[in-house]
């Protein structure tokens, strides 16, 4: 089975800190995604990548950046964390999207 591993389950960071969320997948998937999930709003796409060193903005990229230096690793960066970035962050990967995503377990980030 494909495994998508997010480095932290829970994180607490201070306002203004630079935050790195790491995601690694082990099945050679081309596509990787970062979503955030908030009650009542569902999953909203932040960034995605369809190849190494390629990245595309999703629906809510403001305040975030990403890095994909290797095929298996996709990092989400909060340049200067703010309290409105407190959320559940979900990483996913896929072969062609028509096959669906495999999600990681999520990182619950709290910014204080």
């Amino acid at each position: 089975d494909v495994k998508v591993t997010q480095s932290s389950r829970y994180l607490v960071k201070r306002t203004g800190e630079k935050v790195f969320l790491e995601c690694v997948q082990d099945m050679d998937h081309e596509n990787m995604f970062w979503y955030r999930q908030d009650p009542g709003l569902g999953l909203r796409l932040i960034y995605f990548s369809y190849d190494v060193k390629m990245k595309e903005k999703g629906d809510i990229p403001e305040g975030y950046s990403v890095s994909r230096e290797k095929k298996e690793r996709f990092s989400l960066i909060l340049e200067s964390a703010s309290t409105n970035q407190t959320s559940m962050y979900l990483c996913a990967s896929s072969l062609p999207v028509s096959y669906g995503y495999t999600f990681g377990s999520g990182t619950r980030l709290t910014v204080v």
Partner: protein, 109 residues
């Protein structure tokens, strides 16, 4: 604007009480409709993919159906272990899925 809407937001069922969840979509060029299950504090797990109107898929007590405007997830004789949030997502003509907000199902013994 492409949109995926799920209803109801929450559903409380007695064990054995069958019901249906709705996922309606207003997207152009739908290429697939996905259902996921999400347990509290965890990432979503894949359930089904439907590609064309009239298609049905089944897994244990769950059955998903698709029409040209909506999809239903039927839960037959649910058990407490079916309690979860169920998400639907539409795949259109680009690289991503667009998700609904989910339906939280609680099944009481």
């Amino acid at each position: 604007e492409d949109q995926v809407t799920q209803s109801p937001e929450a559903l409380r069922l007695q064990e054995g009480e069958s019901s249906s969840l709705n996922c309606s979509y207003t997207v152009s060029g739908l290429r697939g409709l996905f259902w996921y299950r999400q347990d509290p504090g965890k990432g979503p797990e894949f359930l089904f993919t439907l590609y064309s109107a009239g298609e049905e898929k089944e897994k244990e007590r769950l059955k998903a159906t698709l029409t040209k405007k909506e999809s239903f997830l039927h839960i037959t004789a649910p058990k407490p272990e079916d309690s979860a949030t169920y998400l639907c997502a539409a795949y259109m003509n680009d690289y991503k899925l667009s998700f609904g907000a989910g339906t939280t199902v609680t099944v009481r013994a």
